[in-house]
């Protein structure tokens, strides 16, 4: 249902947690250098650098399409035979716009052409980086939509553009500075050079982007796509909020959500015309169907046999209100935060100098000291004005980089939501017989055999989301078959048995004495038996003799949907119909 028509009171619990963001569109221009060096095929892989770049850009386009975001993307080729804005050597392959499916087709076509050695737009021409930046700038300024962030990504393996005269160099540098003042970020994505020499950013590009971090070039398409994705999603969703250490001391921070994917939103379409459908909802009195105005709608609640009624104003007054901000309560040893005390997504905060000067210094010092002393902060976090907020823990995180100098984790605090006492249930645990040393040792060797050294949460993809995306893509691109999703969460039983078969049987021997059988309630239902039984009975025409439990189990086994409270007659009927 469209969220705007939902009852605002019913949503109040959900809304309380999330931060409100300034939501704007991101604009990204990808520039692919088509110099000779970029188009030559790699001696090892047989793929040219330009194709690599185009594939990575295509992946970004596909991501954008699937995520349904309205962000703008564009692609410019430079070093071509064509002219753009009367400037030689530039070709706008895709204009800056929200991507649609034709964009992917264009990219695929171009990439195929490049791979087969056809160059429709020419190759290896001299171009002026100044003109390139000028074109990028004017593309951004002529964009009708308001863009929240503007990024130019340059894919190249040429440390210094050809035939670069000092004047053009000077002009390009000035232009780059002007653009950065306008809030346009330039990012260089170096690709491996042909002769294996280093990509020397100092030769030219460091003048354009003075504080650019040098990363090692990569040939791996997935790695490259990942880097593009990281840069592309870099400047996103920030909300400024005050971090109140004490009434005497306040600093400014920005926050963003780094974790948790929102579910795909949908609209209703008319099935005949595919036009969007508008939902109008109203509240109607049941007795006389009279439409009630919002202030005529009251809320009720049971209290014994009394019905308690609240007006709209009362409901407003019933809400718990706090002022927006993050309020520090104190510090605790890091070990005090229990692993299982989860209560939803965490929020990432970074300092902001927008309102308080000196915030960064304070923030960084607090972070490094907490990290060094293995402590965490406890905060009362109110992400929105007028909500009660929640209790959270401030977990410090230092910056981490991989061997290619690519940032894996940025510096900042994670605010982890902690559950309220009401959310934690008190459970009764039955005392169990303590295991003996042999049993624990057997378990240990089993666990160690099945150890994955490099496990991290971003290894496995959500099969449900993958399936959804693939189906959506197949329908959108009118593909005839839908690609099979392989469920990444399925354990590899065979290799597990091979690796730890011995340990498993050893453990079974010590832990479960002979004659032990798993309680019935925990056993997997024996579908085979029920299916055979029902089929036999059905053939004999004595289906009514099968018990209700078995019939239900049969329906489960053959994935036949029946209501959970179905009577025996209904079940028999459904099964007979199912069997034809």
């Amino acid at each position: 249902m469209d969220s705007e028509f939902e009852d605002p009171f019913e949503n109040e619990v959900e809304e309380e947690g999330s931060f409100s963001y300034i939501s704007t569109l991101n604009g990204t221009l990808c520039v692919v250098d088509c110099s000779e060096e970029m188009l030559v095929k790699d001696s090892e892989t047989g793929v040219s650098r330009a194709v690599l770049a185009l594939e990575a850009i295509k992946a970004t386009y596909c991501n954008k399409l699937i995520s349904g975001s309205l962000d703008h993307l564009g692609v410019i080729l430079c070093g071509t035979d064509t002219k753009t804005n009367d400037y030689d050597g530039l070709h706008v392959l895709l204009p800056l716009d929200t991507p649609d499916k034709t964009c992917v087709e264009v990219l695929q076509k171009t990439s195929n052409e490049f791979a087969s050695g056809k160059f429709q737009f020419g190759r290896g021409q001299v171009y002026s980086p100044y003109h390139l930046l000028w074109t990028c700038n004017s593309t951004f300024t002529s964009c009708v939509k308001k863009l929240g962030s503007r990024l130019v990504m340059i894919f190249t393996n040429v440390s210094e553009p050809h035939n670069l005269d000092p004047k053009t160099r000077q002009l390009a540098t000035t232009k780059a500075r002007d653009m950065s003042e306008l809030g346009i970020t330039i990012s260089i994505i170096p690709l491996p050079t042909l002769d294996g020499s280093m990509f020397e950013i100092e030769k030219f590009y460091s003048a354009l982007v003075p504080d650019h971090e040098v990363t090692n070039p990569t040939k791996d398409i997935e790695d490259l796509s990942m880097r593009v994705h990281r840069r592309e999603s870099k400047v996103r969703m920030t909300a400024n909020i005050n971090f109140v250490v004490n009434p005497e001391l306040t600093i400014g921070v920005q926050c963003c959500n780094l974790f948790g994917e929102p579910a795909a939103k949908h609209v209703n379409l008319c099935s005949k015309t595919n036009q969007p459908v508008v939902t109008v909802s109203s509240v109607v009195r049941e007795t006389d169907r009279a439409v009630l105005l919002p202030h005529e709608v009251y809320r009720s609640c049971k209290f014994g046999s009394e019905t308690v009624i609240f007006s709209k104003d009362d409901v407003e007054q019933m809400k718990v209100r706090s002022d927006k901000g993050i309020y520090l309560i104190g510090f605790r040893p890091a070990g005090d935060i229990k692993f299982h005390h989860v209560a939803g997504k965490s929020t990432f905060i970074r300092p902001s100098e927008a309102v308080y000067n000196g915030s960064t210094d304070f923030f960084v010092t607090l972070l490094t000291r907490l990290q060094a002393r293995e402590k965490v902060g406890i905060v009362h976090c109110v992400p929105r004005e007028g909500t009660p907020g929640f209790i959270g823990a401030l977990i410090p995180q230092l910056e981490e980089r991989d061997e290619d100098n690519e940032q894996i984790r940025p510096m900042g605090f994670h605010i982890i939501r902690l559950p309220f006492a009401d959310d934690i249930r008190k459970l009764n645990y039955e005392p169990s017989i303590e295991p003996n040393a042999a049993q624990v040792d057997a378990a240990k060797s089993l666990i160690l055999k099945l150890k994955a050294k490099q496990f991290s949460a971003n290894l496995l993809e959500n099969p449900e989301v993958m399936q959804f995306n693939k189906t959506l893509e197949a329908i959108a691109l009118e593909k005839e078959t839908i690609e099979e999703t392989d469920d990444s969460t399925k354990p590899d039983v065979e290799s597990m048995n091979k690796r730890a078969g011995k340990e498993m049987s050893l453990f079974n021997d010590v832990a479960f004495p002979a004659g032990y059988s798993i309680p019935d309630e925990c056993r997997k239902p024996d579908y085979k038996r029920v299916i055979a039984l029902v089929q036999n009975r059905s053939r004999e025409g004595t289906l009514a003799k099968v018990s209700v439990a078995d019939l239900k189990l049969y329906c489960q086994g053959v994935r036949l949907k029946v209501p959970s409270n179905a009577k025996k007659g209904d079940l028999v009927e459904a099964v007979t119909k199912f069997l034809g």
Partner: protein, 654 residues
């Protein structure tokens, strides 16, 4: 517990009657909010009269007992009645034996249909200070109470019951009765008051959400039950929509197209559309069925890994579960305990695939040990998928703290140490909005016409105070030099803008209204022709400053534009040339043009717009001939040749 029956037995001769009333009011209002269907009866004992007409069957041996309220759902009148008890019976009572009253209470349950339901419980609460006589047979009553199903929960509430070891006389007898009743308990009035002061959400029965096996490969299986440990609590009751007098209302939804006629659409003729780039892709019901996954209910181990590989901040779930062995399976329990203990010793966790029901989406979960002295089980939390983790890149934070800054922060951390405040534990803080909802509902129910009360401060988590933290904070403020950034644009309210006494603003308006605006006034002191609208600026400058200085200014601007390859050079050249021709400033123009002409851009513009040197035909005093001018734009070489020729010619002429 929503179908429970509660009988309150009140000894009106008790000295602690007032306290008993407070306990009852608080207890009942929690109860009625949590379980509106509960039935409550009140039996008074120690009254001067007797009224047991609500009992069926033989009832003539009861004296000084009044059944004031039979078992009925609670309402406001019940509270009013309880409130009035001390006034009504405070002086008008006798000390009698309490045991018959318990018999009356037990018989009240008897005459109801004894239907055992897991949502029901029977409860007798006896409020007394027990100074009377006990003559009846205690074991007889206890036996009577024990036969009633579901079993009676008996609570004895009175003063001086804190220390159960040193009871004397009748209190001890009553205490013994509690012990004889299978679910009996004593509680002192003070404790009862503290317990009922804060509202508590209702208890949830521990029911497994999953019964199955934890499978390791194809070989090892642990039978397990999964029960919920942490779950976001919503309010006990949602606020339902209704009319002003509580009448039922329904939500009506109409679907229509966005066209002029607002054509209505049948809800069955709609598809869901998902955004794919610019367009919406309709997903029909058949397509939707392709999207669902076929999966089988299971909990299967994928791998084990170091606990440090699971990062706390990445966990997005809102639930935590306990993985316990099925009750009465001690062998399986020991096996699971061995597994849990081994995980704890190795500081490792087990990563699992969890499918709660057939054909639901598989989840990624992490099992970690929960080892206690009496049992060892596992806990389970959801792990994120790679889709859930955004890979964002942020600029490096550069800061090198000074030693005094470090020591200030250290002082702050030491000062605000929560481990010195054991009473403030994050996991023991109640949700203030739940308390507030209860407070308002109970208040409105008992005082229907009064406005809602203010939020009770005690219900909101009170943050601990630290001594001397202000000084440390001030010190931090100083060493880090934290300052509020002054907003550059002074914000003014509408009132200030339009108020007549605002002198600043008035003079500003006056300034604009002045008729003789000079060039400086408009563009500011020391203004120059800008590069954004140079032609307009130039024209203005000509009229205000005079032609000569304006042209000089303009030529400077053009030089700048040529250097930076601006896009309005052509217009500038055109306008300056016009003015120069008009005012015979050919020297200035021709000299500058020769400079500018070195640029390829200018060359192109000049050729296209045939903008050349000013010649004799335009200004009579100009030495440049028309031919020379034409040659100039045609090319350098020709011009040079011409210039050389020129000199010769001149000499010849002389």
């Amino acid at each position: 517990m929503s179908k429970s029956k509660i009988v309150l037995v009140v000894d009106v001769s008790s000295t602690a009657l007032q306290a008993a009333v407070s306990v009852m009011t608080q207890y009942l209002s929690h109860r009625l909010y949590n379980y509106p269907e509960n039935q409550i009866a009140v039996v008074l004992v120690g009254t001067n009269n007797t009224d047991v007409s609500h009992l069926t069957g033989k009832s003539d041996h009861f004296n000084n007992i009044v059944i004031s309220k039979p078992l009925l759902a609670g309402d406001k009148s019940l509270f009013d009645f309880i409130q009035d008890l001390p006034e009504k019976y405070g002086s008008d009572n006798v000390r009698v034996d309490l045991i018959p009253a318990l018999e009356v209470a037990a018989r009240l349950f008897h005459q109801e249909k004894a239907k055992t339901h897991w949502m029901s419980e029977n409860r007798i609460m006896l409020f007394t200070d027990e100074n009377g006589v006990i003559s009846s047979n205690i074991s007889y009553v206890a036996k009577e109470m024990n036969v009633i199903k579901p079993q009676i929960i008996f609570k004895l509430i009175g003063p001086d019951l804190e220390d159960s070891q040193n009871l004397s006389g009748n209190l001890k007898e009553m205490y013994n009765l509690c012990a004889e009743v299978e679910q009996g308990e004593t509680l002192s009035t003070e404790d009862a008051l503290t317990i009922t002061r804060l509202y508590k959400t209702k208890k949830v029965r521990q029911t497994p959400t999953f019964k199955g096996c934890l499978e390791i490969g194809g070989g090892t299986k642990f039978p397990v039950h999964i029960v919920t440990k942490i779950i976001p609590t919503s309010h006990q009751q949602s606020l339902k929509m209704c009319g002003s007098t509580g009448e039922t209302v329904v939500r009506d939804r109409v679907y229509h197209l966005k066209d002029e006629n607002q054509t209505q659409i049948d809800p069955d003729c709609m598809n869901k559309g998902y955004r794919y780039g610019k367009t919406y892709i309709p997903i029909s019901k058949v397509d939707a069925s392709l999207m669902s996954m076929e999966s089988e209910k299971e909990l299967a181990l994928i791998c084990t890994t170091k606990r440090s590989n699971i990062r706390r901040e990445e966990l997005c779930g809102k639930h935590a579960y306990s993985v316990i062995p099925p009750p009465s399976d001690s062998t399986g329990g020991t096996g699971l305990a061995a597994f849990a203990t081994a995980l704890r010793d190795l500081d490792m966790v087990a990563v699992c695939r969890y499918v709660k029901k057939n054909d639901t989406a598989p989840k990624l979960c992490c099992l970690f040990p929960n080892v206690k002295s009496y049992c060892a089980t596992l806990m389970m939390i959801d792990l994120p998928f790679s889709n859930d983790i955004k890979k964002a890149k942020f600029p490096k934070l550069r800061s090198e703290p000074l030693p005094e800054q470090i020591s200030a922060i250290d002082k702050l951390i030491d000062n605000m140490d929560l481990s010195t405040k054991p009473e403030f534990k994050p996991s023991e803080i109640g949700d203030p909005s739940i308390q507030r909802r209860y407070q308002c509902v109970a208040h409105r129910a008992l005082h229907p016409v009064k406005p809602l009360p203010e939020m009770d401060a005690a219900n909101f988590f009170n943050t601990p105070k630290f001594e001397g933290v202000e000084d440390v904070a001030k010190e931090c403020n100083q060493v880090f030099n934290i300052k509020i950034v002054e907003s550059k644009i002074k914000k003014r309210t509408a009132g200030e803008m339009f108020s007549t006494d605002n002198v600043d603003f008035k003079t500003e308006i006056k300034k604009i209204k002045k008729e003789d605006i000079s060039f400086e006034d408009l563009l500011g002191a020391g203004a120059k022709i800008g590069t954004t609208t140079p032609v307009q600026d130039f024209q203005l400058a000509c009229t205000k400053l005079g032609v000569q200085p304006a042209c000089e200014m303009m030529s400077e601007v053009i030089t700048k534009l040529v250097e930076h390859q601006g896009n309005n050079i052509a217009d500038c050249l055109q306008s300056i040339r016009q003015i120069c021709v008009k005012e015979s400033l050919f020297e200035l123009f021709n000299k500058s043009l020769k400079e500018w002409f070195k640029s390829e851009v200018v060359k192109k513009i000049c050729k296209e717009g045939s903008l050349s040197l000013i010649h004799k035909g335009e200004c009579s005093s100009c030495p440049v001939t028309e031919v020379e001018s034409e040659c100039f734009i045609r090319g350098d070489e020709l011009l040079q040749a011409m210039e050389e020729d020129d000199d010769d010619d001149l000499l010849d002429m002389l």
